[in-house]
Every structure is written in C-alpha cells, then in structure tokens.
Amino acid sequence: MPTTVRITRDPLDAQAVRALEEAVTTRSDGGLVTFQGVVRDNARGKQVRSLEYDAYIEMAEQQMAQIAAEVEARWEDSTVAMVHRIGGLEIGECSVVVAVACPHRAEAFEACRYAIDTLKSTVPIWKKEIYTDGEEWVEG
C-alpha cells in the first residue's frame, strides 16, 4: 500500500486528483471515495475573495502519514492518499484531497471521513480568509 501524503504549492487539478485515485486503487478494491475541499465564496456570513493557506510542512506531513497509517490499520485493506495545498487559492480551487480505496464501499466512506476529520483537527495547517475589506486567520 503506497501511501501518499504531501503538502504542496501546486494546484490540485483534475490530473493531480486522478493520480492520487490511481495510486490508492488496487485490483481487489471495489470502492473509491474521494473528498475534495473546495474554496467557497463565503464564510461566517462574509464574502470571501480568496484564501491563503500556511503549514508547518515537516510536522504536517508527519501527522498526515500518521493518520494514513492509523486509517490503514483500522480499516483492513484500505489505502489512503492525502495532499493539502498551501499558498494562495482562488474560489473554486481545491485545497485538499483525501482518496481512500477499500474492497467495500462502507469502509471507504468511513475511512475517508475519518481521515479528513482527523486532518482538520490535528494537522498544523492554517487558513487566512481574504475579504474585499481585510483579511483574517481563521479556525476550522
């Protein structure tokens, strides 16, 4: 199970997402669940113009590898890839991809959900929302 975890400054475009999906899917997998975080045009009632992500890259990648290992131990025969983008992102761009393949779909959904939830609550990545009239580092 070739686990891919990475912080990147490159766009998470269709090819990047596809490459992760292919990396996790083996011949015995029947279900592939992919989560993509997308930059929304609003948050907490404010119009968002763009986002900027920062990360403590070395620790973030270590934490992500730990999450992937935990997922692959907990959901038998699951394979996980996760990549988070940092730098400036426009509305509609993808900030994070978590792809999980499993023999059966129920596990793939659960494992993918667990991976992104745990990433959000433990991986040192930060987000600044840029509004038309200011900017703010925000939680969540």
């Binding site: 975080g37 992500y53 920062d54 990360a55 403590y56 070395e58 620790m59 973030a60 270590q62 988070h84 900030s95 994070v96 992104i116 990433l119 959000k120 609550s121 433990t122 991986v123 040192p124 990545i125 930060w126 987000k127 600044k128 580092w137 925000v138 939680e139 969540g140």
Partner: protein, 81 residues
Amino acid sequence: MRVHVRYFAALREKAGKDADELAVPDGATVSQARAALIERYPQLASTLAGCAAAVNRAYASAETALSEGDELVFIPPLGGG
C-alpha cells in the same frame, strides 16, 4: 540554552519573521519559553494565549521540558481542510 523557534500563520505575521533563536534557562518548559517569547514580543501575547505547542514536530504540553537545540513551534487554531 537556546531553542529554535519557528513562526507560522498569524504568529509569523505579528513577529514579522519566520524563525528565532530563543535563550531560556537550562531545563525550561514550553510554558517558560512562551513567557520568554511574550517578554520579547508583547504583540504575540494574545495570539500565543490560544496556541498549542509542538516540540521537534510533535505536540507537546506546557510542562514539557526543552533541551538545547529543540525546535519549538506555537500552533495557532488550525484551519486546514
């Protein structure tokens, strides 16, 4: 002794830099290092109040004792995803 401090997100902007060397007494804890940092940069106080800490790339409690050359990072509320 000296520890290596790195700044991210709001702390980087308020400190105006990416990293620092911080002098602390031998055996100082994360909590003592935080106090030393606030003394040097009062403008970080409010942000540091809401931060977790990591030593050598792993989460650490306020009571964790530091060693010479440790990498210390204060972790503001997370925003990944």
